[in-house]
């Protein structure tokens, strides 16, 4: 027992802390504004990363109605997230593990991604854009982009603001 501890402990500690030290990643915050409209539906929201040529680097999140409603399956309206649909959404099979989830109410919603852990793949160094698209039944559609460079030089906080269907969108880069 006594022999075992000193030998293993440093390894255990370095594994834990070392892992943390290398856990580069991003935190995304998406604000869904409270809208004063007669008929409110929660928006469908897609979050993904784009390369400079606007091709998709990775899909991060898709929030849509998961249960079948009176108007059919929720997947019927995924095409209304027009850019996301065209930029690769249509190639995916829903539900998509680790990416798709239920629609969210108004408020601020946080997402955390660690590099190398699905769905945030190892990104080659370069310029990217975080894209957040929201589309709402009997409502509008809006797209917000936040440009960033990966890997970040240090901890960095970037922000963009939607006008209608999205509120503040923030991106925390963790080196």
């Amino acid at each position: 027992m006594q022999k075992w501890l000193p030998a293993t402990l440093p390894a255990l500690i370095s594994a834990t802390w070392g892992g943390q030290a290398f856990a580069a990643g991003i935190d995304v915050k998406v604000e869904i504004p409270r809208l004063n409209v007669a008929e409110y539906h929660r928006p469908y929201v897609a979050v993904w990363l784009e390369r400079p040529d606007q091709s998709t680097a990775t899909h991060l999140a898709v929030w849509y109605q998961q249960s079948d409603g009176p108007e059919g399956k929720g997947t019927k309206w995924l095409k209304d997230l027009r850019q996301w649909w065209r930029k690769g959404g249509r190639e995916l099979n829903m539900p998509f593990d680790g990416v798709s989830g239920a629609t969210k109410p108004a408020g601020e919603h946080g997402l955390s991604f660690t590099e190398g852990k699905a769905p945030f793949a190892k990104l080659p160094a370069g310029d990217y854009q975080l894209v957040v698209e929201a589309a709402r039944e009997v409502g509008g559609r809006e797209l917000v982009r936040v440009p960033f460079t990966w890997p970040p030089k240090g901890a960095q906080s970037l922000k963009a603001e939607g006008k209608e269907e999205l509120g503040a969108v923030s991106l925390q880069l963790k080196p």
Binding site: G72, K73, T75, K76, W77, L78, K79, R82, Q83, W85, R86, G89, R90, E91
Partner: protein
Amino acid sequence: MQRTFKLLALAAALAVSTAAQAHSYWMVPSSTVLSSPQWITVDAAVSNDMFHFNHRPLAIEPLVIVAPDGSKVAPANVSKGELRSTFDVKLEQKGTYRLELVRAGIRANWKEGDKPKRWMGTAEAFAKEVPADAPDLQVSETISRLESFVSVGAPSALKVSGKGLELQPITHPNDLIAAEKASFQFLVDGKPAAGVEVTLVRGERRYRNAQDEIKVTTDKDGKFAVAFPQAGMYWLDADVQDDKVSVKAAKQRSLAYTATLEVLPQ
């Protein structure tokens, strides 16, 4: 002098009236981009203003709906109204469906005594029903193709038949976005068709004062590119005439291609 002038005026008036009376025919699907299997409904009509039911219904008997796997799907709830025809289609496979309406046949005009006779039908019927020695016999062949496309999920490749005038998409017809350049190729009997004049007209014509048509001509490879100025339903039309007839009596062949394309906003 006076007479010549009158004749010229008459000729001009005739030319204008034929152009004005050239009705176009079209099909409009309720959706062209779908994210899950579902029903769509389609309107089909003949009119002056694109996608506005104001003349007569389109005869849709020759309609064929080709599923992504090449199988044929039967339309449901087919109905013919006074101003439009409608039908529904259940789209269950992933990929692109092609709605096509092809008309091919022979047209003949001749005289029986003083009376002009007009005839239209298939090549086989022509041999039986039209007297080869009829006076003033004029024969022409026609192939016209009317199409629209609907995709469930990711669009899939489209194959041409190799007969008549056809559009070979380079940019998929269910991947058209306003202000982005889209490219296509025109083929006659499967071979690139150079110098084909293509006309594009956006719908909702009645809410603007001019036709605002876009005209493009195919290059030596039969290709053309267009950036749709704004989102909407577009009517695409091209017509070609040649002498590649299959019936001896015919002198010329008229080929027509028409499609309805949906362009989505950025």
